[in-house]
C-alpha cells in the first residue's frame, strides 16, 4: 500500500514538474579558493579549461566578472549563458568564485515533453559541468 501511494505521489510530482512553462533554469555554485581575489581573478582570465566548453563574451576587471556563451552543441540544454565572478573571501588571502548559469531545456513546445529534453535533464547536465569545473579551477589556482 505504502509503495502504491509513493508511486502515485511520484507520478503526481513528476507530471507537475513536466508541465512547467518555458522557465529558465539556474545553476549557481561557489567555491572558496585559498588565494587573494587579485590572484584568482588573474588566474581565471588565463584559465584555458573553461574555454573548451564556453567562449568568453566579455569581462570586466572592475567587477571581476567574465561572461560566457556556449560553444558545445551536443548538449541536452539550450540558450546557455553563464558568468563566473570572483569575490573577496573571509580574509585577504581567500576568494570566492561563483559560477551562475542560465539555460533552458531543449524541448520548448507543448507538453508532453520527450524524455531527455526536460528541465531535469538540462539541470543535471549543467551541474556536471559546473561542479567539476569549479573544483578543477580551485586545484589549478591553489597548486600554483
Amino acid at each position: 500500500m505504502k509503495k502504491i501511494i509513493f508511486t502515485l505521489l511520484a507520478i503526481i510530482c513528476s507530471t507537475s514538474a513536466l508541465s512547467h512553462g518555458p522557465t529558465p533554469q539556474k545553476v549557481q555554485e561557489s567555491v572558496t579558493i585559498a588565494a587573494s581575489p587579485a590572484k584568482t581573478w588573474d588566474a581565471l582570465k588565463n584559465y584555458s579549461e573553461f574555454n573548451k566548453i564556453m567562449k568568453v563574451r566579455s569581462f570586466k576587471d572592475k567587477t571581476m566578472k567574465i561572461k560566457y556563451e556556449l560553444i558545445k552543441t551536443d548538449v541536452p540544454f539550450s540558450d546557455y549563458n553563464a558568468q563566473i565572478r570572483v569575490k573577496k573571501g573571509a580574509n585577504d588571502n581567500e576568494s570566492i568564485v561563483q559560477w551562475t548559469a542560465r539555460f533552458y531545456r531543449t524541448y520548448k513546445l507543448n507538453p508532453p515533453i520527450p524524455e531527455g529534453q526536460d528541465d531535469a535533464t538540462a539541470v543535471a547536465a549543467v551541474n556536471k559541468i559546473v561542479g567539476p569545473g569549479l573544483a578543477g579551477f580551485k586545484k589549478s589556482v591553489e597548486s600554483k
Binding site: 508541465s19 512547467h20 512553462g21 529558465p24 539556474k26 567587477t63 549563458n81 558568468q83 507543448n110
Partner: protein, 328 residues
C-alpha cells in the same frame, strides 16, 4: 450654592475631554487610513525559484513581506485604482490575486494553461493573459474573477501591453518575430514584423516599444502609420519602459540597463545592475526605476532624475516580475 457650581464645571470639563478624545481618535484613524491607502508605494516581485512574491516599500526601500503564491510565478500586473495585484503562476497554471491594501492573497483563478504575461485595461474591468502553449489571449473579468473569453492569436504570445489611447492590446509573438495589435473588441488591427525574438513590450500614446532579444535592439513602432525605428542596446534585452521621452532597457547578458533619449536618439547612460536584469518598472512620483535581477535574486533601484544607482535589495530566488509591478 458654591459646591454644585463647582461640580457642574467639573462635569463640563469632563465631557469636553471626552469629546476631544473622541475627535482625536477619529482624526488618528482618518490619517492612518489615508496614509495606508494613498501613500505607500510598493514593488511586487515574483520570485520564480521559490514560489513567492516579495513586497518592497519604495519609500523606505525596505522589504515588507513575502507572500506564498502558486508554483513558478512570472507575469504580473497591478490594478492601481482597485489596488489588486494579479500574478501568473506557470507551474500551477493559475493566477494569484493579492489585495494590495493588506497584502493578502485573496483568490486563485484556475486557467489550466501557462500564463506568461498580464495586462489590464484602463477601466480595470478586465485582465488579459498571454497563454504561451495554446496561443491564446485569455480575458479575466475582474468582477467575476474568472476567465470569460479566449482569443486565438499568433504563436508563442509573450509580452502584452495595454495602450490606453487606442484601447489596444499589444502582443509580441516571440518565435514568429511579430507584434500583434488587437482592438477592444478583439479584432486584429495589425500584425507587424519586429526584430529577432521580441519579448517585452510597452505601449503609450502613438507608439509600441519592443525588446528584440537576439538583435540586441529595441523597435519603436508607430500605431498611426506603422513606421518603425530601431536602436541598439546591450546584449539580450528583455524589456523596455518609457517615461518623459526616455527609454529604459534591461540588458540581461550584460548586467546593465540602457537609458536612451528618444528625442536626440542617443544613449544617455549605461548603468550596472545585479546579475541578469530582466524586467523594470517606474515610480513616477518618487522618480524611481526598479529592475528585477534574476541572477542575483534581488532588485536594483535607480534615481530617474540623475540616473544614479541608489540601492540593491535582496528579494527571493530568481526574481522576474514580467509586467507592471509597482503600485504607484
Amino acid at each position: 450654592m458654591v459646591k454644585p457650581k463647582k461640580l457642574s464645571i467639573f462635569n463640563l470639563k469632563n465631557s469636553n475631554i471626552f469629546i476631544l478624545t473622541f475627535f482625536l481618535i477619529i482624526l488618528y484613524f482618518y490619517f492612518s487610513y489615508d496614509f495606508k491607502v494613498d501613500h505607500v508605494s510598493k514593488a511586487y516581485i515574483t520570485n520564480q525559484g521559490d514560489n513567492t512574491v516579495s513586497i518592497v516599500d519604495l519609500e523606505t526601500l525596505k522589504k515588507l513581506k513575502t507572500l506564498d503564491v502558486g508554483v513558478a510565478p512570472l507575469g504580473i500586473t497591478i490594478l492601481q485604482k482597485k489596488k489588486l495585484v494579479f500574478v501568473g503562476n506557470v507551474g500551477t497554471d493559475d493566477i494569484s490575486v493579492i489585495d494590495a491594501v493588506n497584502d493578502r492573497l485573496i483568490k486563485t483563478i484556475k486557467l489550466g494553461t501557462a500564463p506568461l504575461s498580464l495586462a489590464s485595461n484602463f477601466e480595470e474591468t478586465e485582465v488579459y493573459v498571454t497563454d504561451w502553449f495554446k496561443n491564446n489571449v485569455l480575458t479575466i473579468s475582474v468582477d467575476e474573477m474568472r476567465v470569460t473569453s479566449s482569443l486565438s492569436v499568433g504563436i508563442t504570445p509573450s509580452g502584452i501591453a495595454y495602450n490606453k489611447k487606442y484601447q489596444y492590446q499589444v502582443i509580441t509573438n516571440r518565435d514568429a518575430n511579430t507584434l500583434e495589435i488587437y482592438d477592444k473588441d478583439h479584432n486584429l488591427v495589425k500584425k507587424i514584423e519586429t526584430g529577432n525574438h521580441p519579448f517585452g513590450v510597452y505601449s503609450e500614446g502613438n507608439f509600441a516599444y519592443v525588446a528584440n532579444v537576439y538583435d540586441d535592439s529595441v523597435s519603436i513602432i508607430s500605431l498611426v502609420d506603422w513606421s518603425k525605428y530601431e536602436f541598439l542596446v546591450g546584449a539580450h534585452p528583455y524589456n523596455v519602459r518609457v517615461h518623459n521621452k526616455v527609454a529604459y532597457v534591461t540588458n540581461t547578458v550584460d548586467d546593465t540597463i540602457t537609458i536612451y533619449d528618444l528625442d536626440s536618439k542617443k544613449t544617455i547612460k549605461t548603468l550596472d545592475t545585479g546579475e541578469t536584469p530582466e524586467n523594470l518598472d517606474l515610480n513616477i512620483k518618487l522618480n524611481l526605476l526598479v529592475v528585477t535581477n534574476w541572477g542575483s535574486d534581488s532588485i536594483s533601484i535607480f534615481d530617474t532624475q540623475n540616473f544614479q544607482h541608489i540601492k540593491e535589495i535582496k528579494t527571493g530566488a530568481q526574481s522576474r516580475s514580467f509586467g507592471d509591478f509597482i503600485l504607484q
